[in-house]
Symmetry: C2
Subunit: 305 residues, 2 copies
DNA sequence: TCTGATCAATCGTAAAATTCGATTAATCTA
DNA sequence: TAGATTAATCGAATTTTACGATTGATCAGA
C-alpha cells in the first residue's frame, strides 16, 4: 500500500500556490504560519521533490508544485462533494447553496422565483452570483459554485443539465415601425433590420442571432448594448429593433416606454434555460428538485402586453 | 471552510465495503480491528449518517455507504496518482508498473520485448497481467493496473492511447487449400470459407471479422477456439481456415505444422495495437517512453515463412 | 439449552502527530 | 544602517491515533 499525503497537507499546498505567500495561506487555512510551513515540508519530503521555490522574499511554485497543486485541488473538491453527498442524502434541500445566474436571466428570474423558493425550501441558504456563462462555468468547475442557471446549449462537458424553461424571443421595435402592425415577425423579417444586441460575451447575443438564422460577425460594436434595459432605450430612441426574451417582458422591462413588441416566429424562436451542475456533484437530488421548482415558477404566463 | 474526512478514514471505509468484514478489512489496512472500527465511526459521525448496517453477524453497506465508498475510492486513486506524478517527474522509468496485456498479444509481445525493456529501464519493476480487453479496462479504471496493451479501437473514454504497432492479418489454411497458391487473400476470398475464430470476448475475433468485412453473428460456437494455438491445430486438421496476427507468426506459432500462410489484402488488413492509460494518470511521460520502446521493439521484421 | 466461536464495539493507555508561540535567519525598504 | 517582512526552526502542550484486552451480541453445533 502506497503512503499517501493527507488532505490537510494538500490544502496547505493549494493555499500557498494560490497566494504565493505563507502567512496569507496560513491565515486562510486558519492555522499558524509555522504549522503551515511544517505541513508543506512534510509534503515535499513525502513526495521527494521540491514543490515551492523559496527565493528572495517571494515564493513561487515549481512546475511540479503547480501540477501537484492542481491535482490536490481536484482531490479537495472531490472530498467536499463526498461530504455534500452525505449531507444531501439526509436533507437535500438544506444547507448553503451557491447559485450562479447569467445576467440576461438573473434580474427577471430572481425576483420572480426567490419568494417561492424561500417558502418551499426554508432551510436552503441560497447565495447568488451573476456573471457571464463562461465565467460561471469556470467557477462551477472550480467548486466555487454549486449550480448555475444559464441558456442551453453551452460548450462544456463534465456538466449535467435540466431544462427549466423555454424563453420565447420577442421583437421590440419603435412606434410606427413597419413591423408593428404584424402579429408576429419571422426570422426573414429581421434580416434587413438594424438589430441591436448585447455586447460580445453574453450568450443571449448568440442565441438571438441563431433564432433569426443570422451571423454575428459583421455587426459593428456601435450596435451593442451592455444590458437589456439599455437596448430597450436605444429602440425607443429609434436606433433600430432588438430581440428580448419573454421573461424580460413579463418582468415589465417595457413599462412606460413607447415601443411595440411582437413574438418571433419560426423553427425554434426561443432560448432554452437550464440548470447545470458538475457531473461529480454530490447534490444531484437537490438540483433536480431546485430545477423542478424553478420550472414551475417560470411556467409561461398570460402573454405580455 | 468545510470539515473534510481524512484519507485514512476513507481508506477504512473502502476496505470494509469491499469485504463486508471489519477484521479482514483491518488486516488489509495493516491496522488493528479496533483502530479500523474507530475510524469508521469517526467517519459516520463526521458525515452524520450511518454508512454500514451492522446486523446479526454480517456487515452490509447502506446505499449511502456504497455511494460514499465509491467516491472515496476515486479520491484514493487520485491521491495515488498525485504521488505517482511526483515520483514520475523525478524518474519516469522507475518504480513498480502494473501492465495489462490482452491474450492475443501477450504471448508474442512479452517474450519479444521484455529483454529490451529490462535493459533499457532497469529500475522499472514490471508486473504483468493477461486478460481480455473489457476486464483490463475495468482494472485500469479501478487503479489496479497502470497501463494496458490492447487492440485499438476499444469502447472506453477517460483513457489516452498511443499506437505502438500495426499487426497485419495472415490467412492460414491447410495444405492443398484453394487459397494456398495465391500471393495474398482478399476480404472477398474469406467470405465463403469456414472461418475459425476465437470465442466471444476476444477482441481479435471482432477485429479479424472487421478486416474481412464480415458479420460475426451467424458464426456458430463450434468454430470457436480458446487460443490461437488451438485455432492453428484446427486448421491443420482441415476444419477450416483462420486469421492470425503477424506477431503470432513471427513468434513461430506455425513452426512444425503443415499449413500455409498468406497475407490478407484490402483496405486496412491489420489490427492496431496501442498502449492505454487513465487520462488522470500521473505517469504519462513514463507511458510515452514505454510506448516508444514497445513500438521500436515491434517494428515489422522480415516477412515470416 | 448449553458451549464455544466469531465479530464488532468499547475502554484505558502508550505512542505519535499536530499545533502553537517564540525565536532565528535572511532579505528587502526607507 | 535600522526596521520591517518573511519563512524556517525549536520546544512544549495538546490532540490524535493506535493498540491490546475486554465486552456484549450472535451464531453453530453438541
Amino acid at each position: 500500500m502506497k503512503v499517501l499525503p493527507t488532505l490537510r497537507q494538500l490544502r496547505y499546498l493549494v493555499a500557498v500556490v494560490e497566494r504565493c505567500h505563507f502567512g496569507q495561506a496560513a491565515e486562510a487555512c486558519l492555522v499558524s504560519q509555522s504549522t503551515l510551513s511544517a505541513g508543506i515540508q512534510e509534503l515535499e519530503e513525502l513526495l521527494g521533490a521540491p514543490l515551492l521555490e523559496r527565493t528572495k522574499r517571494s515564493v513561487v511554485p515549481t512546475p511540479l508544485g503547480r501540477e501537484i497543486a492542481a491535482r490536490a485541488k481536484a482531490l479537495l473538491t472531490g472530498a467536499e462533494e463526498l461530504v455534500d453527498a452525505a449531507q444531501a442524502a439526509k436533507e437535500p434541500m438544506a444547507g448553503p447553496l451557491h447559485l450562479g445566474v447569467i445576467p440576461t436571466v438573473g434580474p427577471f428570474l430572481v425576483p420572480r422565483a426567490m419568494p417561492a423558493l424561500r417558502a418551499a425550501f426554508p432551510a436552503l441558504k441560497l447565495y447568488l452570483r451573476e456573471d457571464q456563462t463562461v465565467r460561471l462555468l469556470a467557477q462551477l468547475n472550480a467548486g466555487e459554485l454549486d449550480t448555475v442557471v444559464l441558456a442551453l446549449p453551452f460548450p462544456t462537458e463534465d456538466v449535467e443539465t435540466l431544462e427549466i424553461a423555454r424563453d420565447r424571443f420577442w421583437v421590440v421595435c419603435p412606434p410606427g415601425h413597419r413591423l408593428c402592425s404584424a402579429q408576429a415577425a419571422s426570422a426573414a423579417d429581421m434580416a434587413p433590420e438594424d438589430l441591436l444586441l448585447l455586447e460580445d460575451g453574453h450568450c443571449l447575443r448568440d442565441h438571438a442571432l441563431a433564432a433569426c438564422a443570422l451571423e454575428g460577425g459583421r455587426r459593428s460594436a456601435a450596435f451593442q448594448g451592455t444590458s437589456l434595459h439599455t437596448l430597450v432605450q436605444m429602440v425607443a430612441n429609434g436606433l433600430g429593433v432588438t430581440l428580448l426574451p419573454e421573461m424580460a417582458l413579463e418582468a415589465g422591462i417595457l413599462r412606460g416606454l413607447e415601443v411595440s413588441a411582437l413574438p418571433l416566429s419560426g423553427e425554434a424562436p426561443w432560448r432554452r434555460i437550464g440548470l447545470a451542475w458538475r457531473r461529480s456533484s454530490g447534490r444531484k437530488e437537490t438540483f433536480r428538485r431546485l430545477a423542478a421548482a424553478l420550472q414551475a415558477e417560470m411556467e409561461p404566463r398570460p402573454p405580455p402586453g
